[in-house]
């Protein structure tokens, strides 16, 4: 690619990033880094997000690492009797939690594509993750 081509591409990326940044403002960013079954961290993180939204706060979710698997369709209760998280995730829209970010690198590492997930998501780069952390008043990591 020519030098000019690179410059143009970089410019477009910055513009796209700025567009996303303006969408990403909010009161609370909940980062979910654990899958649905190994621990209760995912559920307890989602609970915080729902409570904040119920109190009228603007909430965004960021799924990182194995946390991305939470969004794979069909996360049911399973034979262990743990409470599944699919039902909670399906309620997000009702609570006006519509900004669902997923870590692009983790999606790649896990062999997942946006079309494998049960809800519409925005894939984000490390730079966009960094930006999201600065554009939310509070960040909580689970």
């Amino acid at each position: 690619m020519s030098k000019r081509g690179f410059a143009k591409e970089a410019e477009e990326e910055v513009r796209a990033m700025n567009d996303t940044q303006t969408d990403l403002q909010g009161d609370l960013l909940v980062i979910l880094r654990h899958g649905p079954h190994g621990s209760s961290l995912l559920r307890e993180g989602l609970d915080m997000a729902l409570v904040a939204a119920a109190f009228g706060r603007r909430v965004s979710l960021l799924f990182m690492g194995t946390g991305c698997t939470a969004l794979v369709s069909g996360q049911g209760q399973g034979p262990l009797g743990q409470k599944g998280t699919q039902a909670t995730l399906n309620m997000l829209e009702m609570y006006d939690i519509e900004t669902l970010l997923v870590e692009s690198e983790a999606m790649h590492a896990l062999g997942l594509k946006a079309c494998d997930l049960s809800l519409p998501v925005i894939e984000v780069s490390p730079a966009q993750i960094q930006a999201a952390m600065t554009t939310h008043r509070l960040v909580a990591t689970f």
Partner: protein
Amino acid sequence: MRYGILLLGAPYSRQASHSALRFARALVAKGHILDSVFFYHDGVYNAARLAAPPQDEPHLMDGWKALHDEHGVKLDVCIAAALRRGLLNETEASRHGKEGYSIEAPFALTGLGQLVDLGLRCDRLITFAP
């Protein structure tokens, strides 16, 4: 600065509680305000009133209590996380028909709304996770 602490790690199983307590002490020593500690996930076990660790180990529950007594730090425990792990105050124990109770003041059972408010009113909310 005004700080809040979110503690998710179980006492003695994980480093989280020890680190959080040391961080809390360092904050007040430096003249910062520690508003509250919010105990969530396995962190709720820090509030167990019956904890009896060996004498040659730090007594974490007493450590939190001392922080409350000396500096007025609020000790809030997530009620949903606590109840399912067997941590109930006298009121909850009687509501659920249990003979004993396992949490007492200055630890207070409260909801996640308190955690959100804490995070938003503090300059920093520091999480100590397992």
